[in-house]
């Protein structure tokens, strides 16, 4: 066994690889491709909404765009990006030679391109693609769905298998592959948050598989799960879906917490405030995520006791989340802060994610939610959580670790340009949605009343700025990889962790012999 051999040559390197760095890179590139595709779908939506009336696409196709935008962004962009980061970073952070089960790791990745080929191909099928929203509520997704829903179901099945295997790999790696001395409470928070995320994934992806299976049987085999005529209940769909769906939301944000907890101390030049409380807060959020699902369903007609229980349980989540925000702010307090690109994205993450969290608290109030439900206020809320939350943290991570991955520094001017374009673009896009939502504009419609016209026009302009800035991001990354300045091992002076002890770019195999911690 060669200890120091490099990568194989050609295409088969990527097809057959078992290397966590190769697989991490593939996940990240795949996720970026999906991010652009989902972004194009979003721009179709925003272009249609630029003015009231129907201009560009017919309403049926508009529905397919809202559906596919959500599915591609959630399952194709955000989740694979975090798995890519986990692949690249976890083995290096804990001093492991690779992921615990390297072949299964490759399989987890290679399922995804096929799953998304299947999913996106539905757009070209007879009757069009899925048009029932990314939450695919029955009976829209069963009784009234286009025939392509069958392929959508199977695509969800196999991407779920990919997620479960990826999560099993992460857990086995973290619990079994740590270098001697790397105790659990010494692990970087990114590793901790991923451990908890992986647990959530294994707990809820099978439930998603279960609910799409019920759909499949209702559609093709005559069962009555979501059909009241046979004694079933469409609301059952929503319960099972959101039992998956709410933890899913935290699957998309917990690793982001880990990233912010790595970057903020580096650029504040202070250790993270409250490490242990961060760990406990993350675990608390994960546990609470299982008992809040029906806050997505306040208006569907659940009993009063249910409304109250899910309202209070949801508000409880603000406590551990508040602990986290407090810790990040306190870490920065009286630090000698510098504002390199990763830090800018991280600070924006803390501020804008908090805005999304606060609008979430508003939505958690059941009686108030009767007004907000299914309006653009909800769209504003979850985009504030996901875009400056999940996606900004991914950008921050890429700017922070790209020198380690590629061996080249990022040009700060280019990085900061990307940051400011994105920051401005996203706020122009999503902030006005709060206003139109509170004023009553419903989500998922291709046309709207005239009084919403101005804010929608502003949103669309912002969306195109944001979309353009991501093409610019591609340029920045490619330019860095091709001709960035040669990076040192210690990329950032204040950074701590095992990944900074290896040279940049990180050798193909790291820690074949475990380091001492």
């Amino acid at each position: 066994m060669g200890e120091h051999h490099g990568p194989a040559k050609g295409l088969t390197r990527w097809l057959y690889t078992t290397n966590h760095k190769d697989i991490g890179s593939m996940y990240l590139w795949f996720s970026f491709a999906m991010f652009l595709l989902g972004g194009v779908f979003a721009l179709v939506i925003r272009a249609e909404l630029f003015e009231p009336g129907l201009q560009l696409v017919d309403p049926g196709f508009f529905n397919q765009m809202t559906t596919m935008h959500g599915l591609v962004m959630v399952f194709g962009a955000v989740m694979p990006a975090f798995v890519g980061l986990a692949n690249w970073l976890i083995p290096m952070m804990i001093g492991a030679p690779d992921m615990a089960l390297p072949r299964m790791n490759n399989w987890s990745f290679w399922i995804l391109p096929f799953a998304f080929a299947l999913m996106v191909s539905t757009l070209f099928m007879d009757g069009g693609g899925p048009n029932f929203g990314w939450t695919f509520y029955a009976p829209l997704s069963t009784e009234y769905a286009p025939p392509s829903v069958t392929f959508f179901i199977f695509a969800v099945h196999i991407m779920g298998a990919s997620s479960i295997m990826g999560a099993i790999n992460v857990i086995a790696t973290i619990l079994n592959m740590r270098a001697p001395g790397m105790t659990l409470m010494k692990m970087p928070l990114f590793v901790w948050t991923w451990l908890i995320t992986a647990y959530l994934l294994i707990a809820v992806m099978p439930v998603l598989a279960g609910v799409v299976t019920m759909m499949l049987f209702d559609i093709h085999f005559g069962t009555s799960f979501f059909d009241a005529a046979g004694g079933g209940d469409p609301v059952l769909f929503q319960h099972v879906f959101w039992f998956f769906g709410h933890p899913e939301v935290y699957i998309m944000i917990l690793p982001a917490f880990g990233i912010a907890s790595a970057i903020i101390p580096t650029f504040a030049r202070k250790p993270l405030f409250g490490y242990a409380s961060m760990v406990y807060a993350t675990a608390s959020i994960a546990i609470l995520s299982f008992i809040v699902w029906a806050h997505h369903m306040f208006t569907v007609g659940i009993p009063l006791a249910g409304e109250l229980f899910f309202m209070y349980a949801t508000m409880l989540i603000a406590v551990p989340t508040g602990v986290k925000v407090f810790n990040w702010v306190t870490t920065m307090f009286r630090g000698s802060i510098t504002f390199e690109t990763p830090m800018l994205f991280s600070i924006a993450f803390v501020i804008l994610f908090t805005i999304g969290g606060l609008s979430g608290l508003m939505l958690a109030i059941a009686p108030a939610d009767f007004q907000y439900h299914d309006t653009y206020f909800v769209v504003a809320h979850f985009h504030y959580v996901l875009v400056p939350g999940a996606i900004f943290s991914i950008f921050a991570a890429v700017y922070y670790w790209l020198p380690k991955w590629s061996g080249h520094y990022v040009n700060e001017t280019l990085g900061k340009t990307h940051f400011w374009l994105s920051f401005v673009g996203l706020n122009i896009t999503f902030f006005p949605m709060h206003f139109v939502g509170l004023a009553g504009m419903p989500r998922r419609i291709p046309d709207y009343a005239l009084q919403f016209a101005d804010f929608n026009m502003i949103s669309t302009v912002g969306a195109f700025i944001f979309g353009f800035s991501q093409v610019f991001f591609l340029f920045v990354v490619v330019k860095t990889i091709r001709d960035g300045k040669k990076a040192d091992a210690q990329v950032w002076e204040g950074a701590e962790g095992l990944e900074w002890t290896v040279e940049s770019p990180a050798p193909y195999h790291t820690f074949s012999t475990p380091p001492k911690v």
Binding site: Y16, A96, A100, I111, I158, I171, A229, G230, G231
Partner: protein, 295 residues
């Protein structure tokens, strides 16, 4: 550095990409089949056989590596974690269907009859009464013989075949444990006989289950189309049956491996993992027996 202390990382592998292609072919074929395409069955079966072949090769590779001594103690622990969390994911899959059953029985059906908070729904399905097992669907209550979704003609009591099957599966959990004790003591004969007994019990369970389905369809009029009772009954017992089938195949493979001389008293994870899986399908059955058949 000796192989003992190094974590074995396989260099490259064609297995995952082939597994992905095969899986993609299988589900695409299944989708085409369900949507009425004539090519569907062909594509599905090509994919399914290819997938089975890849998995066979994959497991064979993993076994060969272990027998070559490439797997150190740490790597073996990775397999242990992997199997444990895989079983947890299976638990959650069944939890979705049990959850659906509980929700339907506790809330959906009573509400359809206008009980509790949902007085007004009784107006939609006049004359519908909430009972479990649900023999008369809301559709039938309103439309009588014209109804499109009709309840089952009859259902199974718990104390016939289901009780027998419960005894069979619980016994098989005990026999597989004895097999485990056998291999740990290095008593290969005892291991093989108890394992054989387990496989036979598993197959017997499946035979009775098939018998039950046959009776359900031909005599009772209990089918997938029999309203929510048929839906929950067949998906819960059906997925359980699929898992018993898989578990039996897994144990059979371990039995065949032991005839080839595989397994040592301190190195038999293939068998151990299969036995965990077997205990898991047993526990699921107990849940089924209580919540589907008895209560």
């Amino acid at each position: 550095m000796s192989a003992e202390s190094t974590y074995y990382v396989p260099e490259q592998s064609k297995l995952p990409i082939f597994a992905s292609i095969a899986l993609f072919t299988t589900v695409t074929g299944a989708g085409m089949w369900l949507n009425g395409s004539g090519y569907g069955p062909t594509v599905f079966w090509i994919g399914a056989f290819a997938f089975a072949a890849v998995l066979y090769t994959w497991f064979a590779t993993a076994i060969r590596e272990n027998m070559q001594g490439l797997n150190n103690a740490q790597l073996k622990r990775s397999y242990v974690w992997g199997m444990g969390w895989f079983i947890f994911s299976e638990v959650m899959f069944f939890a979705a269907f049990f959850g659906a059953l509980f929700y339907v029985r506790m809330y959906a059906v009573p509400w359809l009859a206008g009980e509790g908070d949902k007085e007004s729904t009784a107006l939609l399905w006049e004359g519908f009464e909430a009972t479990w097992p649900l023999m008369t669907t809301p559709d039938q209550a309103v439309n009588g013989a014209e109804a499109t979704v009709k309840g089952p003609g009859g259902i199974f009591g718990p104390w016939g075949l289901p009780l027998l099957n419960t005894i069979i599966l619980i016994t098989s959990s005990i026999t597989v444990h004895f097999a485990h004790v056998g291999i740990k003591k290095g008593n290969r004969k005892s291991f093989q006989w108890w394992l054989l007994a387990t496989v036979i019990l598993g197959a017997t369970f499946m035979f009775f289950q098939a018998e039950e389905y046959y009776v359900a369809y031909t005599e009772l009029g209990l089918t997938l189309e029999s309203g929510i009772y048929g839906s929950t009954f067949f998906l819960l017992t059906g997925f359980h049956g699929a898992h018993v089938t898989l578990g039996t195949i897994m144990l059979l493979v371990q039995l065949l491996r032991s005839y080839k001389g595989h397994f040592k008293p301190d190195d038999h994870f293939g068998f151990e993992a299969s036995s965990w899986y077997w205990h898991f399908v047993d526990v699921v059955w107990v849940g089924l027996f209580v919540f589907v058949y008895i209560l």
